[in-house]
Amino acid sequence: MRRLIVLCSALALALITVMVAPVLLKAQEQPPQGQNPQVQQQGQRQGQGQDTAPNPQRGQGQGRGRGGRGAPAGPSKPTPRWPDGHPMIGAAPGEKGIWGACCGSLSNAQTPYQPWAKALYDYRRNNEFEPHTRCKPSGGARQFVTPYGTEIVEMPDAQKIVIFDIGGPHTFRQIFMDGKPHPKDLVPSYYGDSRGHWEGDTLVVDTIGFNEGFWMDRAGSPHTEKLHFIEKLTRTDYDTLKYEVTVDDPGAYTGTWSNSFQMRWGAGNELFEYVCQDNNFAPVLLIGQEEHVDRTSIIVP
């Protein structure tokens, strides 16, 4: 009998947790308006930009809180390199730093949408009901679109690179650098399976195995499980990371397409604890015109 009580209590606790979550998930972090020129140029929508979440780095005199804003004026230093010669795309040993946001919208006027994908993209422009803002992990370029920056950690000994972002649900993406191919029969996941290699000074990351539970950019470019995402990261100087993306998804587009962006280095900035569920304060920005959507489900959709 006691075990029955324990079991039911556990179930009740789980249900309560899941039921309360949507109420707490009012909205998620939004880039502050005008504070990231790159994102503004590349398709930020009207109404975005109300950053209401607390930033522990503010007021502490450490950098200026975000990747890209601590970059010094004037000519940049040269690209830092590892002893083997390839560029460091993260902080050098003993340094601190993260990359600023980029690539709010991957697509552009030339993006070869399938009709349903274009219609869905247009719909999302007016009805922001993005999984990321409900604390779901976001793969693809969306991982680089948070107002607090992104940290890239190179782990040569482990033959992997790890990407952390602040503003998501405390998750991370691994890029395997061991030269092995993608596993067969991948179970679709938010970040997919990323395999990287160096082509000169450029890190090329090939990712497949995505699920359809996220938006691959902030603007809502649709994708399917057929998505093949190719990223090229080139640190052109100390303060600049060139980020090129090629999207190959025959489920949503009639051809492959590409776009290119830049991220700025935020020297001295660090990751800080960001609990997504505690920092959602922008419900209007989160759901746009879809305020009628039933959010009382015990499932965070």
Partner: protein, 133 residues
């Protein structure tokens, strides 16, 4: 016995929560849809439709199980978010019937989006509503 029942219940509840937690943000028709159709509120037949986008077209089956039948036609007009379905199967009383459904996709941004419209079989014109689960 009660322990076993409670365990099974907890297991199933956990499974449902886990499966339902995976949102689907790809093609709007992909997924499993539940609902019913009928000529009035009192005369309804259960309806389950599973649809899958393969990159070029949508395929699917109606009422998966021993009495399932495939969808012969599935079209989505994304300019109006209207859906057209056709299938040859059996009606709620087991009689062969050709089904034609025309509906409107609503709450597209929601995981639990819906399709409502007309559901015609033979000379009978009914209405239907299905909700993505």
């Amino acid at each position: 016995m009660k322990m076993k029942a409670a365990f099974v219940f907890c297991l199933l509840a956990g499974l449902v929560l886990t499966i339902s937690g995976f949102a689907q943000e790809g093609h709007p028709l992909t997924g499993v849809w539940y609902g019913d159709y009928g000529v009035n509120a009192n005369d309804r037949a259960h309806l389950t439709i599973e649809m899958q986008w393969d990159g070029k077209g949508v395929t699917g089956i109606v009422n998966p199980g021993p009495d399932s039948f495939p969808l012969k036609v599935v079209t989505l007009d994304s300019s109006k978010w209207t859906v057209h379905l056709e299938a040859d199967g059996k009606d709620g009383k087991g009689a062969p019937a050709h089904f034609v459904a025309d509906g409107k996709l609503e709450n597209i941004g929601s995981y639990n989006r819906t399709i409502t419209g007309t559901w015609t079989y033979g000379t009978t014109k009914a209405n239907f509503k299905i909700r993505r689960d």
